[in-house]
């Protein structure tokens, strides 16, 4: 497209089907210990 560039193709709606395994890191354990951020966590679902 000429006027719009999409930064990410993954839609959250698509993660409903296979998500929820719970294997990803607990956000507070990564570094913060005070400020919850989950947007930077990686998905560990190998299904």
């Amino acid at each position: 497209m000429k006027h719009i560039k999409t930064l990410n193709g993954t839609k959250l709606q698509d993660t409903v089907k296979k998500g929820g395994c719970g294997e990803c890191q607990t956000s507070c354990q990564s570094a913060c210990k005070t400020s919850c951020t989950v947007g930077n966590q990686h998905c560990e679902n190998k299904r």
Binding site: L7, T10, Q29
Partner: protein
């Protein structure tokens, strides 16, 4: 096309126009024409309103261009990537009904510390206790048994060695890790151990052990010497902590090939120009940096105030600009709060359910008591049980289980809800007296950080193209 203003979030930063479709999580970098058209519609405007706007802001743009822009917008709408509805609300009920499993523990190895940091929520490691306490190996092993027994079919289990200062009880850390390695295989689990330390007692023995056993280490330092030493002094005055820890932390970070660690600082009202502290750490050679806003009571002199927000926003934007400048050079670095995984990020379940405190993440005191997280330790209103008997106060657990973005009124319409998941329950409690309450200053900072993180990614994409 929906036009309620809660489907789209737009911002301009670092020379890019960004349109976020909140519910699909897709992010679009647009030209100013598309940006302005979407803005009119998102505010409830009609096609006629767009035409009026174009006459003022884009008067030299031919109609064929406008038509093309509309066509691209429609393509995204058809692909559920723009103005999408929220399809997840009903899923939260499923989530609440799920069996609770525990998958992460914060082990308070030592309620004691060799520093007396002015902003310490743990009260110099004591956590409202009257005397210093060290966790025994027995309590630590029982904590791992509790974790394994309550983890259901979760394979990856996380254990953070925290304090106070955990290296004051390093032999116990070693013994607990050895025990964990002994029991993980037969239970089909994998322990991911992490260590959070102020660095004072770091030596070759610690580094060797940590590099063998610790998935991640968090090394506390606030940045510039004068800032660090003012807020992170020794109990006895006169000796600079910065001078002692900096060479140790550098050695530690290098020994891990500048990976799987963070130097982690706190900024307060004493250093509103905190971007200088981040840059200082980067200039010392650290590649993984996290410098975060202090959690403090409103009455504390160093607490961040609402009036500080414009300055703090400017600092975050300055930092983002500096990272863009350094990208691809040998001076580039990661800033934890600007990291965002746009392709392989977490599923919507994770984004709805938040940090997991009080449910899948618990803190364990030196005597084995269980609390919803490290920030609540010592507040007996939140005592949940102990490692021998497990979670006995299920009322506290159920309160935390209901903590999600739909339970918090201000989150329901916030563009950042799928990035911060409702934020930190302890922050909310400290500022509002309720884990479902608001901490407005924290929310505003979080939103700015997300915008900066996306702006950096957008600039990278444009550079690659």
């Amino acid at each position: 096309m929906n036009n309620l203003g809660e489907y789209i979030h737009q911002f301009r930063q670092q020379g890019v126009c960004v349109v976020m479709d909140i519910n699909s999580g897709t992010i679009h970098v647009t030209d100013p024409l598309v940006y302005d058209i979407i803005e009119v519609h998102d505010k409830g405007g009609t096609y006629d309103d767009v035409m009026k706007m174009l006459k003022v802001k884009h008067k030299n743009v031919p109609l064929s261009e406008v038509s093309e822009a509309y066509s691209e917008i429609q393509t995204l709408i058809n692909e559920d990537m723009l103005f999408t509805d929220d399809p997840y609300k009903e899923r939260v009920l499923d989530f609440k009904n799920q069996k609770t499993v525990v998958k992460a523990l914060c082990l308070h190895i030592a309620h004691d510390c060799n520093l007396s940091c002015k902003y310490c929520f743990a009260e110099e490691g004591m956590y409202h206790g009257k005397k210093a306490e060290l966790m025994s190996p027995e309590v630590g092993k029982k904590a791992l048994d509790f974790l394994v027994a309550n983890s259901g079919d979760r394979r990856n289990l996380e254990v953070d060695f925290f304090g106070g200062e955990p290296l004051l009880n390093f032999e116990t850390v070693k013994e607990i890790v050895r025990y964990g390695r002994n029991i993980e295989k037969k239970n089909k689990k994998k322990f991911r151990f992490t260590l959070t330390t102020n660095g004072v007692l770091v030596n070759d023995d610690v580094i060797e052990f940590a590099n063998k056993e610790m998935d991640n280490v968090v090394l506390s330092i606030d940045g510039r010497k004068e800032i660090n030493d003012k807020m992170r002094p020794f109990r006895k005055e006169g000796v600079s902590t910065y001078d002692i820890i900096l060479p140790k932390l550098k050695k530690f970070a290098d020994s891990r090939n500048q990976d799987r660690y963070y130097v982690r600082g706190t900024f307060t009202r004493e250093n509103l120009d905190f971007s200088k502290d981040v840059i200082h750490l980067a200039d010392q050679g650290f590649k993984q940096i996290s410098v975060e806003p202090v959690v403090a009571k409103e009455t504390d002199s160093y607490a961040l105030k609402k009036e500080d927000l414009p300055k703090l926003f400017e600092e975050y934007e300055n930092l983002a600009a500096e990272m863009i400048k350094r990208d691809g050079t040998d001076k580039e670095f990661n800033f934890f709060h600007f990291m965002i995984d746009l392709s392989g990020g977490p599923c919507v379940y994770k984004r709805l359910s938040g940090c997991g405190s009080g449910t899948e993440y618990l803190a364990v005191t030196p005597t084995g008591d269980l609390y919803p997280c490290h920030q609540f330790v010592g507040n007996t209103d939140f005592l949940m049980g102990n490692v021998n008997d497990g979670v006995t106060n299920t009322a506290v657990r159920d309160r935390f289980k209901n903590c999600n973005v739909y339970a918090k009124k201000t989150c329901r319409t916030c563009f950042a809800r799928y990035y911060c998941s409702g934020g930190c329950a302890a922050n909310a409690y400290n500022f509002s007296g309720d884990i479902l309450g608001d901490y407005e200053t924290g929310c505003e900072l979080q939103k700015k950080r997300i915008e900066c993180a996306i702006a950096i990614q957008a600039r990278k994409m444009m550079k690659e193209q």
